[in-house]
Subunit: 513 residues, 2 copies
């Protein structure tokens, strides 16, 4: 197991008390008693640190933040505490997820989530960037996210019988816009060509500088980003997966609003981001929803009887369908031949489940009498078309990116799939749709919330901290919006599983489509 | 001439503007365009620096603070300014004296002084330390000194047609207590055994952290101290004199409330401080005053006629006598035999100038009709006794200190005399009194306000900055309050010039005393 080198260290101090023969200043005495040299004390911490050191009788534990520019002595405790709590935070656009970690042992002490309070000012990133440009808008958004983090921190601290101020470090991974809001930086240029962040690699700062109510001297370690569309959450994901440390080439896929993909190994890394997510996130399909209680997350269709079976999260009456449920559903619709290879309903096969809604057909997934609100759960042709675009985009992104470096899919040791998407979808069904490459299932490794997992590593590993900064320089970013090859591939991928059937030998091909 | 390596640097920047092919963040772009590496940007400066860089079209001058922990990028200017103004400040207990310096050329642009506004809360250091212990007292004293510095900064800036915010650096040298007040640190233990400062070597901080109204990003470089009784003003004096860089051994004397003395060379330095000053500062003698307009600063007495001649500062009617005037006066009284070797009035010789005041005699220096307020300017036997103690203390300090290192006075290449004392006194007269060693007059070098001169060097020389910190470790401090040798020497020095006449061969010895 790797040695823990936390973002905050405790140094046990036993200094000789002052005397007429030794008139060293209190703070200078403390520095001398440390086992390491060149420790700085920020001006605004001098009075606190020196005062506590004297009060403790010149012995106890020095609290030292480990920063890229060197060590900073920021607090002094009369006794060595049993735990040293750090908070790893995934700063998402819709939700914040965090865990408290004991930085002495690496043990996770608590975990929780909270809705991003900025939603009140804009549902998505773009709306919020526009809101920020209004009078005082940036300050409002900054305050909202700080308040939200403070709430989550307090909630988690209470869970383990601590106060928020007992949290002594925070690592934050988020997309570039969320990072700007956190730091109070103007996001104006993030969504305007040529899409330039104010900063990609911010220096760590202290909690009190941002208004965070955890311990004021906590270092806030914000994961760096590569550009407007490739944020610290992705860097964090790479660190969590270990992609950048392995000899063999692997891939990391993170699907949110965008699909973000990285391919590489310890020698090189290439990445891109593209709009592939909406239909998968449950944001576009009319009946779509996040993977939460009441969401249909698995569907199977009996080939012969055409009978539907589904599972809901929490075993509740269905409220809607989440991303993995939609993928399952559409793959099953194809395998049971109720849709054709273009993703269109086959009226004859699906007949009794189709109803006319607005301009086109919709398919009843769950009947009105079974659903949570007495209305049928349906999938429309419009939803299907959106999914077809999303899956085509996803496959094209993967193919274009690997092709840039001349790597075949079969050369990938692993494909790490991050987030709720990776946690819930069946790779098999995604392969049937031609969304992801037709590879042995063991190649696919779901890694959960890798943004949070990477942030946790930042709290505990010096190597993770240095890697995060090196990654910014190491990754070659490919802009897909101006990529010709991507557009050509996209057209070919708008069939199930693909126009080139040889790419998906494991998927049944129906001649009569 | 030494190359200037100022505390704040300007780096000319010409960056390639961002494009789709180069999506480096604004701040990261700026850092890359610098000619030096590992430059940090403090969190609270990110928005300002990045915003100004963009607004200036990605070219201009980066403002970089040169700190012991590395370089910090803190501001950006669209054009290289013709001057880069820094402020050197001597933070005295009674007065603040400062100069503005162009850090690009080293030229002094303005100079001025202001009374220390803390006097309202305590005339001397001890009174203020007691005041600080009262409810909110420390904050009141901190605010008073900050306000005072802001006033002086504005006043000097206006003199050269600048605003206070155009001042981009400040170096401060003051005694240890003043430094504590400046930084808002509790001085409680400074005057209580074993006399321990909160900190001797504070990290540089930024103007805005202290509430200073010069440019908020200015580095504030506070000269370190060695202990409660040996402050940054002395370290500054050593730097100004160059004592610590010379092959030959020399001495530095600074007389304020205490006499502070350093002996040494580039290999070693030894220092002490002792109460020798009051009578010399003009604080004790009834007619004593600071060396200001109307102060008698030179006196001569005709040996035959016993006629007095005096000079006043500004050629005004006399108001009192300053330190150098008192030394002149008493030396002349001895040479004209109006006082004896114990410093007592000789009634027969001084008869017609003596008047009875209270318990004893006083000598009329200037007649009532000649003085500024119509009252005679007098010197009492009590004043004389105080001067005798001061001069004995001074000589004993010098002798004890040199004896500690086995150095004879004749081995001293120079004796640097700092402050108003050094500027105004005649070494010859001080030798007559036996206050300072009987050495050729060219050994004595007045160096003016060396506290301010050292602070100026801090603004301009990297070597001065590193020396100041090294000096804290290099100087051996001798505590005179517990020194037996000092007490024995003190008794022997309470005669004019000394009980051992051989120590002062150049001074007339009168057998019949």
């Amino acid at each position: 197991m790797q040695t823990i080198q936390p973002l905050v260290e405790l140094h046990i101090v036993e200094a000789v008390p002052p005397s007429l023969k030794d008139n060293t200043g209190d703070l200078d005495r403390l520095k001398k008693a440390l086992s390491c040299e060149n420790v700085r004390v920020p001006n605004r911490r001098i009075a606190t640190v020196a005062g506590k050191f004297r009060q403790a009788g010149f012995r106890g534990a020095a609290v030292i933040n480990v920063l890229p520019g060197g060590r900073e002595l920021v607090d002094f405790l009369p006794e060595v505490p049993p735990q040293l709590v750090g908070m790893a935070l995934d700063l998402g656009t819709t939700h914040l997820e965090a865990c408290l970690v004991d930085m002495l042992t690496g043990v996770v002490l608590a975990r929780g989530t909270i809705e991003n309070a900025q939603i009140e000012y804009g549902a998505d990133i773009l709306a919020r960037i526009h809101f920020a440009a209004k009078n005082n808008g940036l300050a409002v958004l900054h305050d909202a996210i700080i308040t939200c983090i403070n709430e989550l921190a307090d909630e988690l601290a209470v869970k383990i019988g601590f106060a928020g101020t007992d949290i002594r470090a925070m690592s934050v991974s988020g997309n570039t816009t969320m990072t700007h809001f956190l730091l109070g930086l103007d996001p104006y240029h993030l969504c305007r060509e040529p899409y330039i962040p104010v900063v990609n690699i911010p220096e760590p700062c202290m909690a009190e500088e941002l208004g965070l109510k955890i311990n004021p001297a906590s270092p806030i370690w914000v994961l760096p980003s590569i550009g407007s569309y490739f944020g610290g959450d992705l860097i964090s994901g790479i660190i969590a997966s270990g992609l950048d440390e392995q000899e063999h080439t692997s891939m990391l896929i993170d699907v949110g609003t965008n699909a973000e993909v990285v391919v590489g190994n310890r020698e090189w890394l290439i990445a891109c981001a593209g709009a592939a997510g909406p239909a998968l996130e449950g944001g576009v399909a009319k009946m779509g929803m996040r993977a939460g209680p009441g969401a249909i997350d698995q569907v199977s269709i009996d080939k012969d009887t055409k009978e539907f079976r589904y599972r809901t999260i929490g075993d509740l009456p269905p409220k809607g369908i989440c991303g993995s449920g939609i993928i399952d559903l559409v793959a099953e619709l194809y395998l049971s031949r109720m849709i054709d290879l273009r993703g269109k309903f086959r009226i004859d096969a699906a007949g009794d489940r189709l109803i006319k809604q607005g301009d086109g057909f919709s398919l009843i997934v769950a009947a009105a009498e079974d659903s949570a609100d007495g209305k049928p759960i349906t999938l429309s042709q419009v939803d299907l078309d959106a999914l077809m675009r999303s899956k085509a985009a996803m496959y094209s992104i993967l193919r274009t990116l690997t092709n840039q470096v001349g790597t075949g899919f079969d050369q990938l040791r692993h494909i790490y799939v991050a987030g709720a998407f990776g946690q819930h979808i069946s790779p098999r069904q995604a392969i049937v749709l031609g969304m992801i490459p037709d590879l042995p299932l063991e190649v696919y490794v779901p890694i959960g919330n890798s943004s949070l997992a990477g942030a946790k590593k930042i709290l505990l590993e010096e190597g993770a901290r240095s890697r995060s900064v090196e990654l910014v320089k190491k990754i070659t970013y490919v802009e897909l919006n101006v990529n010709q090859e991507f557009m050509i591939r996209f057209s070919g991928a708008r069939f199930i599983p693909h126009t080139d059937h040889n790419l998906f030998p494991s998927v049944p091909f129906f001649e009569d489509n």
